[in-house]
């Protein structure tokens, strides 16, 4: 699948003119590339997290791989190892980044980065949650503490209610 199809799809997006030089759509998340270790706290209890972000498929997508380990504890008596993947893509038509997560529990969550993110933070609001009961929504917020540290807050809301924090994870860079 190459030129002909690429042209078909390219026509859906806009082409910046010479007076409007294209911005790097990945600049906001470029810092994520690398290997990270995190400490998480929240409704599943306290856990440790290993995460990598790397560009794949010729740099067209940013791929996240995550393993969170929760040892047995009062909030999570059996403990658990949670894994998820995600792919970040640049939606040219909407001029935004789209985050699509695939969880081992079967959830497939799609988020779009909001334009109203506060300074120093990236906010992704859910657009669709598959294999989750209707009425739920989710939000991922990444607060950039330094080039080598960020905090991820994962929130859920149901039935039109307010978001509640499900987990908060502080990441520190292991390797670029």
């Amino acid at each position: 699948m190459s030129l002909a199809l690429s042209v078909c799809l390219l026509l859906q997006g806009s082409v910046p003119g010479p007076s409007n030089p294209p911005e790097n759509p990945w600049s906001a998340v470029q810092f994520m590339v690398g290997e990270w270790t995190g400490e998480s706290d929240g409704q599943p209890g306290k856990g440790t997290v290993k995460r990598t972000y790397r560009f794949v498929l010729g740099g067209k997508f940013l791929h996240e791989q995550n393993v969170s380990t929760y040892p047995p504890q009062p909030k999570n008596e059996k403990g658990e190892v949670h894994e998820h993947w995600s792919l970040l893509s640049h939606d040219r038509a909407r001029h935004t980044l789209v985050l699509r997560q695939f969880h081992q529990e079967g959830f497939v969550n799609q988020y779009a980065m909001t334009a109203e993110s506060p300074a120093g933070a990236l906010v992704f609001e859910s657009e669709a949650l598959e294999n989750v009961h209707p009425g739920w929504k989710a939000r991922e917020t990444y607060e950039v503490v330094s080039p080598d540290e960020f905090v991820e807050t994962f929130e859920l809301a149901s039935g039109g209610g307010a978001y509640e924090v499900y987990s908060k994870t502080r990441f520190k860079r292991l390797r670029p």
Partner: protein
Amino acid sequence: MQNIWIFLAVCAAAVSTGSPAGAAVPKGLEPLRFLLGDWQADGGGKPGEASGGFTFAPSLQDRVIVRTNYAEYPAAGDKPSSRHDDLMVLYATESGEVRADYYDSEGHVIHYAGSTPSVGELTLVSEVVRGAPRFRLSYKLGADGKLDGRFEVAPPGQPDSFAPYLAWTARRQNPGT
């Protein structure tokens, strides 16, 4: 909202039980077991003749099947050689329907809904998007163990007028887990 994510996980698990003992894929993906493994392929179509390979493997604690695929196009005429890579994640909905998300090295993202018309067959059809082409990706396992695949495209505004774009035949190199 005590452990709501675990609650949601239990809800999801409740609809995906019933797989045979030892199954490495959830119920909704069981009909796709024939695809697991490493495959080498030859084929061609509108972009030219190509060779390549792909792997279907369970991932995320056997919750999804991931296909990684590449195709190499030799130089032809004025066209230099080129390589295409893609990644596709196949998963099942709560009701057992197959879905797939496709990402490739040209930046395309395609969301497919799947069906298994008969044993050893998978057909993935993309959603209808106004003003955009629609895609159909099909696999059929032959009695000789070869896997035939084809990729078809329908022009914008004619979502059911699929025309061939690529076709290939693949031979299994290693069985899946």
